[in-house]
Point group: C2
Chain length 433, copies 2
């Protein structure tokens, strides 16, 4: 891959050309549910590689990137506990239906706070808006806050009472603003990831760095990161600030560790897990934990939700890493084998290499460690993984983490919302089967 | 310039080679003043282009990058008010002598908090340590806190009393930790700047991106930024968090605006000033303001110190922009004309273009707007600037901002520390004369 220099980018896409940017105003979506205002979405891109976005298993309305396509409205009653095959396909839809107004408010906050007098910032943001996205992480914050009975006046019947927390954020909307903050951290990470990975595509569209250049992606990522902290400061809870600033540091450590393990087949599985815990699961965990914090729940519930998010995030990344060797490019919106070409150390590679004979290990050394690859090598890699069941084993591992995530929800009342979150765990794994 | 891909970087400088990294422990410097522990320094790099570092006008011990060279110890008595030519050459030394123990503690905090189990992070940090640096921004935080009588028990005779602030940081050391935090934000910005500018040199040494690759620079920058916020959260003051998170967002906006104005000779002077206010002066202002905040001073003093920092920062960047067309490469530790080659819009260019005739404007359009340059063009640019006095006019402008910065100190008692800060204003401009 050829890195884009700023000079290249400015020649390819002079900034003036972007004048036809999509409106940043949160225009009402075509559906009846206010949460489906696609125009207000900005993520469209993911920290973890991308497979699920746009895949049919996404199912729900949030997967509909093209404006004008009516979203499917799934009433909460359609969600059944446990996670049967029919139910988990609609898991995100079910969650969305339960969080509709909250997510709409979150989308408005995202659009409002991405603005800046420096036009290139909303321009680049608009590119992300146009790319669509499913807002999984902010939905986790919203759902966990609601699961804990926040805001107190609107708690579901039977939910425990609420006590004031140290935050000073807008009454009843703290979860909304913190969900936006989580999405900003996620989006900043994505922008920097695409620069680091030299990605040209996200969700099947040109990535921000491909359109605007690496320079703009680095700097707008910095802006969004700073803006995330401003949102947290406005919320006013030092607990929330501690959780999310720790998560931000852990994400960066995970990304650096991934860089350090690149091309190194000697990477132990534990270190690979450290990478995905850092680069992906830490933000899932923090997104969930702050939901409990705004509701001022006991430490055990905070810990349970952090645990839920951490396990869900690990499962999510394991599935992503499996899909990079298993899914159709059209479904993924990206090229199959990106990880392979980059020499990224993921579990499918580690498992196939460990199970291989001398000739196979020599293949992996040449392709992954020495980065010497021919056109036919990806097919060989897929065949070797299939021979040793490396993808299936990775997905089994993901299933264990998803089950652990579901188990962490056990201390909460059995409500439609808890069932929807459990459904997301099933969906996370089943999207790859 | 050719961007360094991660693959290139790992081939050029395998991480294992960095094993001979300088010790991260704050080893005692060769001088008698504890503040001169060069081994503990990590900035060595600047957000704003670099000219002053290593230039003889730096004078004081902090300019001594090479270990083993004894620093010059300048007692406070050597500082005279006002800023005569002899005094301002020693301005940084004078400030350093007054802040010795504080700066030493700050250096220890920087080294301790740059550590991470992910080895590449302290490795890259060690590279910055080895590059040396004068720690101007953290010194401003330390000096402004002391100027405001923080910590209360150690206030100079005659300084007003102190009241508790909302922070929960370590008693008497809040200014030290916040100074470290300011330096982390600065260093993160530098790392990303060098990626954006495709710089190969900082202070005459290979820049971090040249050694470790753009990827590591982006990600370690993210880590340092997150770590800065963790330090602020530990301090516990929401006021401090608000000031520094706002500054971080403003810095990013300034950098993006600079990118947007690149190659555009139609950039109004006001917009150029917005760029340098954002990319440089905002952090100077915040660094100074938080000094007043930890001392719990009245709003007028906070505002005066923010004003001082903002004006000093603008002066500093104006001088940097002048030096890019005026100084010797050996003195700068970088190539003269970097801004010219990048098509950066700075005041010397705007002034020369505005004063030029048709042929001259056509020269600027070709070289700056169209980026079509030959070897001889830099000399022509220098000659045109000289003809129209563009450098002198830029430095005059810097002088006005430096004077405004000095004036902002007027409400504080006339102490050696205030005089040293006034001396820094003079030094900032005179280093270029």
């Amino acid at each position: 891959m050829v890195p884009v220099t700023a000079a290249d980018a400015s020649r390819e896409t002079p900034l003036g050309v972007i004048a036809s940017q999509p409106s940043l105003a949160p225009s009402a979506g075509p559906g009846t549910d206010g949460a489906h205002t696609d125009g207000a979405r900005t993520d469209g891109v993911r920290t973890d590689g991308g497979p699920a976005d746009g895949a049919p298993a996404d199912g729900g309305p949030l997967a509909v990137a093209a404006p004008g396509v009516p979203p499917v409205s799934v009433p909460p009653a359609a969600v059944v506990p446990g996670g049967s095959a029919t139910a988990d396909e609609d898991a995100l839809s079910a969650l969305l239906a339960l969080l509709g107004a909250d997510l709409e408010a979150c989308n408005r906050a995202i659009v409002a706070r991405m603005d800046s007098p420096v036009r290139l910032i909303p321009q680049l943001a608009a590119h992300l808006v146009a790319a669509g996205g499913k807002r999984l992480r902010p939905m986790l914050t919203l759902a966990c806050a609601r699961l804990c009975g926040y805001p107190p006046g609107e708690a579901p019947a039977g939910a425990p009472g609420d006590t004031p927390e140290d935050g000073t954020g807008a009454a009843g909307l703290r979860h909304v603003h913190l969900a936006a903050c989580v999405e900003f951290i996620h989006t900043a990470t994505l922008l920097h990831d695409d620069v680091v990975d030299e990605s040209r595509l996200r969700r099947g569209q040109a990535s921000a760095n491909a359109v605007f250049g690496n320079k703009a992606s680095v700097l707008v990522g910095d802006f969004l990161f700073a803006r995330a902290f401003q949102l947290m400061v406005e919320d006013g809870s030092l607990r929330v600030l501690a959780i999310l600033s720790q998560a931000a540091a852990t994400i960066a450590e995970g990304e650096v560790l991934q860089l350090a393990t690149q091309n190194d087949l000697g990477t132990p599985e534990d270190r690979y897990l450290d990478v995905i815990r850092g680069k992906t699961a830490a933000l899932f965990a923090a997104a969930c934990e702050v939901g409990a914090v705004v509701a001022a729940r006991p430490a055990a519930e905070e810990a349970a939700l952090a645990d839920f998010g951490m396990n869900l995030g690990i499962a999510f990344q394991l599935v992503d890493d499996a899909l990079d060797y298993a899914a159709d490019q059209v479904l993924l919106g990206k090229t199959v084998g990106d990880d392979f070409r980059e020499g990224k150390i993921t579990l499918p590679v580690l498992l196939a290499n460990a199970a291989g004979d001398a000739a196979e290990r020599s293949f992996w050394q040449r392709t992954i460690e020495a980065s010497e690859q021919t056109e036919a090598d990806l097919d060989t890699a897929l065949a070797l993984m299939s021979r040793h069941g490396a993808i299936a084993a990775t997905l089994d591992r993901a299933g264990s983490y998803a089950a652990a995530a579901q188990a962490a929800l056990g201390m909460f009342p059995d409500t439609p919302l808890r069932r929807a979150l459990a459904g997301v765990c099933d969906y996370t794994v089943r999207r790859a089967r």
